[in-house]
Amino acid sequence: MEAKPRGLKILEAVTVVLFLISLWMVFFYAPVEKVMGEVQRVFYYHVATAWVGMLGFGVALVAGIAYLRTSKRKWDIVGLAAVEISLVFFFITILMGSIWARPIWNAWWTWDPRLTTATIVELVYAAYLLLRQGIEDPDRRARFGAVYAILGFISVPLTFLSIRIFRTIHPVVIGNSDPTATGNFDMTSKMLQTFLYGLFTFSVIFATLLWHRIRLGWLADKVEQLRLKTSE
């Protein structure tokens, strides 16, 4: 087994520092929101984890297309890594959203377009993992995974659109907002800095995890090949 690459070690250290600074910003640097109070701080990581979630599914789409075109193993490993990481981050987004929604909307959950879409995204990519689990042949597993990642990525915006045709109560903090939404607020410049820095930090966290997961994927591949060799 080869040693951990130096780049990865450096990236890990950078990630830890970035995250600690980001935590400090979220809890001490950013001011308390007037109406919602402390619970508003959930917002910074809620959006940041959602961003990582979507980023990962985008990576899975690109990796899926690349795999179908080239049939190189590495693209399959990248795709699976991205989906696994994003699934977890998206789940964290939903959990944090619930924590915020309980005092603000007075309910853990509503069937709002974004919430419903988030659930369906989780289900799509859970199905992706189940599909892969059911296939033994690595080539076929990679091909089917790639096809399903592509289909999933196309269907999710349509799902969002279809639910969006109903009205929504989810606040839109970035871009123009709907006045009927509950829990809107305007960001002060310190909030905006904290928020953008959080997005950046989580992107770096994603990159670090992706690198780790891709290494793990290669190792798993090696193990599988050795196993096939010994069983012959």
Binding site: L130, G152, I154, S162, I163, I165
Partner: protein, 239 residues
């Protein structure tokens, strides 16, 4: 066969003709097999009626409730019966090695996809054509409205376009019967929402201005997913 001397519109035309004749051969194979066994359609039909029966007790389908839930009941019924049909139609190919035979034929793979999809669509429409009058009689509501029929056609096309592709994937896995609905339902959510909303709008006599966004969504979904399935089907059946 003579070698083509000049490549012109005639050869393009004949390649379209040979493609469509391959598609129809697959469709015809499925229809005639079904005509002899009547396995698929009878199972789908009985299952669909059972689902309606269960809804009848689960939701107390009295006159007041019916007004609001009819579209939902119909689409859940079609979706469930549809998975049954999709699973069966692909499992049939896989079990006796028919799929390998089909893949060996010197036709474009996408012709096989379209053949299977049209066959599945036909079965699904047939089930719907029987469920609608039965439901109309049982609950004395008239479901034969041109708008509703259009929605059912568009919704079924979208459902079958994705379903045929996914069932071709599902039969090649270890957990095949369980896997198809898990793969299919999250992807057809847009179809289900748009179909249920526009169906109930047609049944309640809603304004066309409110219905158009849903119909557009259905059409967009049908076009996108037929095109994507056409592009990726090769990778799904590759050996």
């Amino acid at each position: 066969m003579d070698k083509p001397i000049v490549r012109n519109e005639v050869s393009a035309f004949s390649s379209i003709r040979s493609f469509s004749s391959a598609v129809w051969a697959v469709v015809w194979k499925d229809l005639s097999a079904e005509l002899r066994s009547r396995e698929l359609i009878s199972a789908m039909l009985v299952f669909a009626l059972l689902v309606i029966l269960i809804f009848n007790f689960a939701l107390e389908l009295d006159a007041k409730t019916r007004g609001t839930v009819t579209a939902g009941v119909l689409w859940v019924t079609f979706a469930f019966a549809g998975t049954l049909g999709l699973n069966r139609s692909m499992a049939m190919e896989k079990d006796r090695g028919c799929l390998d035979g089909l893949l060996l034929t010197p036709v474009d793979r996408s012709a096989i996809y379209f053949g299977k999809a049209i066959g599945n669509l036909f079965f699904m429409l047939l089930v719907e054509a029987i469920v609608l009058p039965v439901y109309s009689v049982l609950y004395s509501t008239n479901l034969f409205k041109p708008g509703l029929l259009l929605v059912i056609l568009l919704g079924s096309i979208g459902y079958v376009a994705v379903g045929t592709l996914l069932s071709a994937m599902a039969v090649q896995t270890r957990t095949r019967d369980i896997l198809l609905p898990i793969l299919l339902f999250p992807l057809v959510v847009p179809v289900m929402i748009a179909a249920v909303k526009s169906s109930s709008a047609f049944l309640e006599g809603g304004a066309m201005a409110d219905i158009w966004p849903w119909l557009n969504l259905l059409i967009v979904y049908d076009v996108i997913f037929t095109a994507v399935a056409f592009m990726v089907f090769d990778y799904v059946v590759e050996e």
